[in-house]
Each structure stands twice: as structure tokens, then as C-alpha cells.
């Protein structure tokens, strides 16, 4: 090949790089490793983690039942190793699946149109807010404090330099957004009211009422969903104008933070202000049904600095995983899964509330997460629980200084009753042991 090109060595091919910048020696990197060594390295790392622990963490990332079928299918090379489906004729597999994903997201959220994925729930919510700003031409946003704290941090990072003014709205004893503060005066020139449901405390918000309040002042309602399995039983936010959802609950493993799959769903009339790719149905010259990426003029590769977003790479493979998972679990199965979550969380809350000094903090209706108050620091309790290979409640004091000694407990359908009872027994024992 060198002869064909007419050079003596591969080094000659790099002569356009100024000599002083060309490395003489190979870099001091670990490796090379054979396949076996790579596996050994990662197995050793896995052993340093919480493998074999029972975890009661949720807070935006959930352990749900997953079928091996979805994981096997997304590893087909035709899906795994294909690019963004710009060349429609040889991408019909991905495009058809995306169209199915968009449809499923509409069915679940009660919205009219959904995109082909965002990075995750936090960035989807942020993009939904920017979309509301474009739609209303207003620059103030009211965000419930009961929205996931990290989602709010991401929004703050993006909003900082865009002239967007963000104000936070507190919560009531029910754990819901303090809707009484959403007066006409407060809502004047507001682009969007942003809530999460179930919210960070696990409590469901009353979407129809909030939508009416927002719309009365010409604002939009943005609803975030971090626990998507709730949609198996919880009424979808049909009155919301934009829904920003995290789809991790649909068969995607926690993987220490990602990759997951975000989605934005909205009304048809807002579609041209929606970021992200879209697959649309059309026909070929012979009249056969096919799918293409469409409405691309919203996107950065065409509109550049005037695009609706800078998003390019999305989370297509995990949109596919979610699609396959939802097809497997189906209409009845999703409802059943949601009911199991509801029942197990209720059971767990009752078991834990039996412990002296432990009580529920919020009175609102919950799905699979709830907040408990403990008579001592949650971190101390968790420290002791770790010795029993239990990862306990998420301490809330870090994000809510007023909620020290409170912890967020999550119980999904994957949690056996015996483990819930073991958690309760251990917390009881820990609290009975005097602090040294």
C-alpha cells in the first residue's frame, strides 16, 4: 500500500504536522491487552463495587425487570453498528423502530408527537424549557423545588447565559408544588411552569389544575417524568404542553449513570420548535411504505446557529431498547408492573413506619418512592446498613438543607418482600443501638 501511494514509510504520511509536534515514541499507555486481560480488568473493577448488594435507591434511576430478549436484539450488529439513518434506503430498520418509539411515547404520555430521543431526562427537561421560551417569547421560568435537584442544576447551567430567569417554587406538606403561590401576578410574563410527576419526593402532582393555572396566564406547563413505569397506572399528563421524560425505567440498566434515553413529547402545533430527530412515514416511487428523517430544517446541520438545539448524537440504541422492552411487556404487563411497584412501595412504607421514630414526611399520593424521617442522620444509618450489604435511603439533606434526617426510599417490582423486611429489621436494630 505504501508503494501504491508512493511513500517509503507511514511516517511520511504525517509530514503535514509540523515536525516539533510529531511524537517520536509511542505513548506510555497501559496495555496492549488481550481480550482475556480486558475482561479480567473489568471483572476486578466490578468486584470493587456494590455487586450483590440490595439497593433502595431510586431518585431518577430505577432497577426494573428487564428481558434478555431486548438486550440480545440491540446487540445485533445491524442495529448496534449502524450510523444515524440519514441514508434511508439502507436504514429502514432503525427508522421503522424510531417511528414505533415515537408512537409508544405518544401513547404513554398522552401527547401528539414525540421525538426520536434526547440524551436523558435532565437534558430533555432543559430543552423543553428552552422550547417553551421560543414558543412564548417570554424569559421567566418557574421551577418546582420538587423537581430532581440534578435536573434543576442542568437547567441552571444551560440557562445562565441565555437571559433566562429561573425562580423556584416551594413544596407543601403534601410534598406537591405550592400551587397557592402561583398567582396571576407571579405568573405574569412566565414562559413555563416546570413540575415533575411523580416528583423527586415520589409524590404525584395534579397536572390538570397546574395546567389550567399556567394557561390562564399565557404560560406553558412543562411536565418531567423521571419514573416512566408510573405511566402504566398513573394518568398521563395530557394537559401539559411539553412532556420531558427519562426512559431508563423501560429496560435500561442503571450503568452508574448512563447511557439512558430522554424524550420530548408535545402537541402537534409545537413540533417545529421541538429539538431532536424525527422519523416520518412516506412512500417510495413504487408506492411502498417507508420512513425517513424529517423536519430536519430544525436541526443544527442545516440551520447552524439558528437551530432549535445543538443536539446531534442522541440515544437511538436505547430508544430501540425501550421500544423492544415495551413491546415485550405490552399493554397488560406494563400495568401489572406499575401495580407491583405501587403495592411493594405501600408495603415497604408500612413496614418502615412501624419502627419507632420513623414516620412519613409527606401526605401526597406516591407511586414507588416515599420520604421518611428518621431519628438520626440517614448517612449514619446507611453506613451501618452497608455492613449488611444494604444500600439504604438517599439522604435528602445534601439537596434540601431543611430535610436533614430525611431519606428517599424506592421500592420497585424487583424487590422481594424478604429484602424489604430485612431492611426494616436492620434499621430497627440500628436505631435501637445507642450512638457511641
Amino acid at each position: 500500500m505504501l508503494d501504491a501511494i508512493g511513500v517509503a514509510s507511514a511516517d511520511e504520511l504525517f509530514e503535514s504536522i509540523p515536525e516539533k509536534f510529531r511524537l517520536r515514541e509511542p505513548l506510555p499507555l497501559p496495555g496492549p491487552m488481550s481480550e482475556m486481560e480486558i475482561i479480567q480488568y473489568f471483572q476486578a473493577r466490578a468486584a470493587e463495587n456494590a455487586r450483590g448488594y440490595t439497593s433502595f435507591l431510586g431518585a431518577g434511576v430505577y432497577q426494573h425487570a428487564r428481558s434478555v430478549v431486548a438486550d440480545a436484539l440491540i446487540q445485533r450488529g445491524e442495529f448496534l453498528t449502524s450510523y444515524t439513518p440519514y441514508q434511508a434506503e439502507i436504514s429502514q430498520g432503525t427508522l421503522t423502530a424510531i417511528f414505533e418509539f415515537q408512537t409508544l411515547m405518544c401513547q404513554l404520555t398522552g401527547q401528539e408527537v414525540a421525538n426520536a430521543s434526547m440524551y436523558d431526562g435532565s437534558t430533555a427537561m432543559t430543552e423543553a424549557v428552552l422550547m417553551a421560551e421560543r414558543l412564548t417569547g417570554r424569559h421567566r421560568v418557574l421551577v418546582a423545588r420538587s423537581v430532581h435537584p440534578e435536573y434543576r442544576q442542568v437547567l441552571a447551567t444551560y440557562a445562565k447565559n441565555l437571559g433566562l430567569q429561573i425562580e423556584e417554587i416551594g413544596y407543601t406538606k403534601s410534598g406537591q408544588i405550592d400551587a397557592a403561590t402561583l398567582t396571576g401576578e407571579k405568573l405574569g410574563d412566565v414562559a413555563a411552569v416546570v413540575v415533575q410527576s411523580p416528583n423527586f419526593f415520589g409524590v404525584l402532582e395534579e397536572i390538570p389544575v397546574l395546567a389550567e393555572t399556567a394557561h390562564g396566564a399565557g404560560a406553558l406547563l412543562v411536565t418531567t417524568i423521571a419514573e416512566a413505569v408510573s405511566l402504566g397506572i398513573v394518568r398521563p399528563p395530557v394537559e401539559a404542553d411539553i412532556v420531558a421524560m427519562e426512559g431508563q425505567s423501560f429496560g435500561i440498566p442503571p450503568s452508574y449513570g448512563g447511557p439512558y434515553v430522554g424524550v420530548i413529547a408535545t402537541r402537534d402545533k409545537f413540533v417545529r420548535q421541538m429539538p431532536g430527530r424525527l422519523a416520518g412515514r412516506t412512500t417510495d416511487s413504487a408506492g411502498r411504505r417507508g420512513f425517513v428523517l424529517t423536519l430536519a430544517t430544525r436541526e443544527q446541520h442545516i440551520r447552524r446557529e439558528k437551530a432549535t438545539s445543538n443536539i446531534c448524537t442522541n440515544e437511538a440504541l436505547y430508544a430501540l431498547a425501550a421500544t423492544i422492552h415495551l413491546c415485550l411487556i405490552g399493554k397488560e404487563g406494563l400495568r401489572e408492573m406499575a401495580l407491583h411497584n405501587l403495592a411493594k412501595a405501600k408495603f415497604a412504607a408500612a413496614e418502615l413506619e412501624k419502627i419507632p421514630g420513623v414516620r412519613r414526611v409527606f401526605s401526597g399520593r406516591v407511586f414507588n418512592e416515599f420520604v421518611l424521617e428518621f431519628p438520626r442522620s440517614v448517612k449514619l444509618i446507611n453506613h451501618a446498613l452497608l455492613r449488611e450489604k444494604i444500600i439504604g435511603p438517599l439522604p435528602l439533606g445534601v439537596h434540601y438543607p431543611e430535610l436533614t434526617k430525611r431519606g428517599l426510599v424506592c421500592v420497585t417490582e424487583t424487590m422481594p418482600r424478604a429484602e424489604i423486611e430485612r431492611l426494616a429489621a436492620n434499621i430497627k436494630k440500628i436505631l435501637e443501638t445507642p450512638l457511641s
Binding site: 417545529r272 430536519a296 442545516i302 439558528k306
Partner: protein, 130 residues
């Protein structure tokens, strides 16, 4: 090809004046450059804009073209048929596919625009460049 009673801009908009009202569209040359039009984004009625300001876009599948105010004034009407039949911009750009009507604030601005003959020369020069 280019109606003699119209005035034209360098950005390929045409203007037809009727009293204080200016009807605006994009030219045959513009629609041909753009290809199949799939969408036209038009301003709200009542918007007040100056000559040269962008007031909307015309889009094909892979391109977006901004459209600019040929004269200053207030948007008094938008073409309601374009949301359902954007393809009319390809078929009849100088007629039924007009975009907006403007209540002009300074009718004298029209005199700064090209007449049909000047525009034809301008288009011919543009075509050579490409």
C-alpha cells in the same frame, strides 16, 4: 417571466403596490433555487418591521431561506392557504402564493427596489456565478 408592475429585492422578494398596501412574495428564481417548498413560516398580523428585517422563512427539505421585508410597515394580512399547500410557492410564486401584505409606513421606499428589467439582469448575473 417577471411581472413588469412588480418591484424586486436583491434577496429575491417581489412587491406589488396597491395604494398603501404592499403584497410580498418570493420570485420564480428564488423558488427554483430552493426546490420543493415544504413549509412557510410567516409573522403574526400586526407585527411592525423595518425594511431589511427578516420576517419569516421558506423551507425545503434540506434548506431554510429567510425572507426579508422589502419595505417598512405593519403586517396586515398573511396568506392563509400556504399552511396547507406550501407547494403553491413552487407552482405560482408570483400569484396565488403571495406571502404577506404590508401596510407601508413609507411608500417612498419602493423606489429603492429594482424594476423587472433590472431584476432580470441581476438574476442572470447570479445564475452565471453558480
Amino acid at each position: 417571466m417577471y411581472p413588469a408592475d412588480f418591484h424586486y429585492t436583491k434577496d429575491h422578494e417581489w412587491v406589488k403596490v396597491d395604494g398603501s398596501i404592499a403584497t410580498v412574495g418570493i420570485t420564480e428564481y428564488a423558488q427554483e433555487q430552493l426546490g420543493d417548498v415544504v413549509f412557510a413560516e410567516l409573522p403574526k398580523i400586526g407585527a411592525k418591521l423595518n425594511a431589511g428585517q427578516a420576517f419569516g422563512t421558506v423551507e425545503s427539505v434540506k434548506a431554510v431561506s429567510e425572507i426579508f421585508m422589502p419595505v417598512s410597515g405593519e403586517i396586515s394580512e398573511i396568506n392563509p392557504t400556504l399552511s396547507d399547500t406550501p407547494e403553491n410557492i413552487n407552482k405560482d410564486p408570483h400569484g396565488s402564493a403571495w406571502l404577506v401584505k404590508i401596510k407601508m409606513s413609507d411608500a417612498a421606499e419602493v423606489s429603492k427596489l429594482m424594476d423587472a428589467k433590472a431584476y432580470e439582469g441581476y438574476v442572470a448575473a447570479q445564475a452565471k456565478e453558480h
